[in-house]
Amino acid sequence: MRFIEPHAHMVSRTTDDYAALVTAGCAAVCEPAFWAGFDRGSAAGFHDYFHQLTDFEPQRAAKFGLPHFCWLCLNPKEAEDLRLAKDVLALIPQFLDRPTVLGIGEIGLNKNSRNELAILERHIELAARHDQLILVHTPHLEDKLKGTRLTIDALRNQPRIRPERVIIDHVEEHTVKLVLDAGFWAGMTLYPTSKCTPARAVDILDVCGTERLWMNSACDWGESVPLNIPRTALEMRRRGWSAAAIDRVIYQNPVQFLSQCPKFRLPPD
């Protein structure tokens, strides 16, 4: 089995997790910029974080033979501080040419506030200006439905954004059709307690098909399961999916989306 982990916060994980991912068949890992669990005090903190994502973390992954890519942004949880957000937005372009940067992400909304929306629009504009792929985080729990709608509206309001170059992540049963019907890619996050379980993710695939969908563990500093993609592959197997159909979802689909960025290259088999 081979798979891509398209959304994992590896700076929060141990080297044991790298070893386990590679042992299970992981062929590449992609790391969106994220909230550290506390608010960073200055743009300099983000400068160091972007350096970690673009330089140190790929080296750490390379020790396990694993290609590591990343996405850059300011997370919506830190978007209430508009001055900080604008300083960070100004920092991002100097990192965009680095060889493992795939695009802008994970941007989006958290509590669906005006400031979050304003900073989301600035990120979308930045991505459009630099012709970057976009990875969107949708809010948690009761905020997800509204945040997904507001995000789709914000993306549609920027005419240079092509929906096939945007993945909207953390969809569940009540948001997946909104995303797919608007022409975007949709990500299902296999996360304990919130988001999707392996069984529900396979239900969504049964109902919606496998076009423009991927899965990720979104493992981070919280309770999360780095091996949830191979575990969901096992669930698919138990439900009668062929090895080829599983490969399509957990390997070929993410490769198809990510290859829209020319920097996403995997070593030959």
Partner: protein, 90 residues
């Protein structure tokens, strides 16, 4: 998959989760305290389990969602609660 196969694969797991929900509601009833919007939303969402209609997971999620469309003036913190406070005032 046939219905038989789905039941073979998932019945015991679903049975266990159903008993967990029942035990959770008993636990809440035994505890002292006033009304809470989360419990009211939970009870409303549970109605979709027994109405015999399809798309239950989607309807439960919608019952626990903020249905409004306007951004809020300011983020009231960072976390989410799991139910929308203004849906059920009881």
């Amino acid at each position: 998959m046939t219905r038989q196969q789905v039941l073979d694969l998932y019945f015991l797991d679903a049975r266990s989760k159903l008993i967990e929900v029942a035990a959770f509601l008993d636990r809440v009833d035994r505890a002292d305290g006033g009304v809470d919007f989360r419990l009211a939303a939970f009870r409303q969402a549970m109605r979709h389990l027994a109405d015999g209609a399809p798309r239950r997971a989607e309807k439960v999620l919608l019952a626990l969602s903020d249905p409004t469309n306007e951004p809020v003036a300011k983020a009231p913190g960072k976390g989410a609660i799991g139910a929308w406070p203004n849906r059920v005032k009881s």
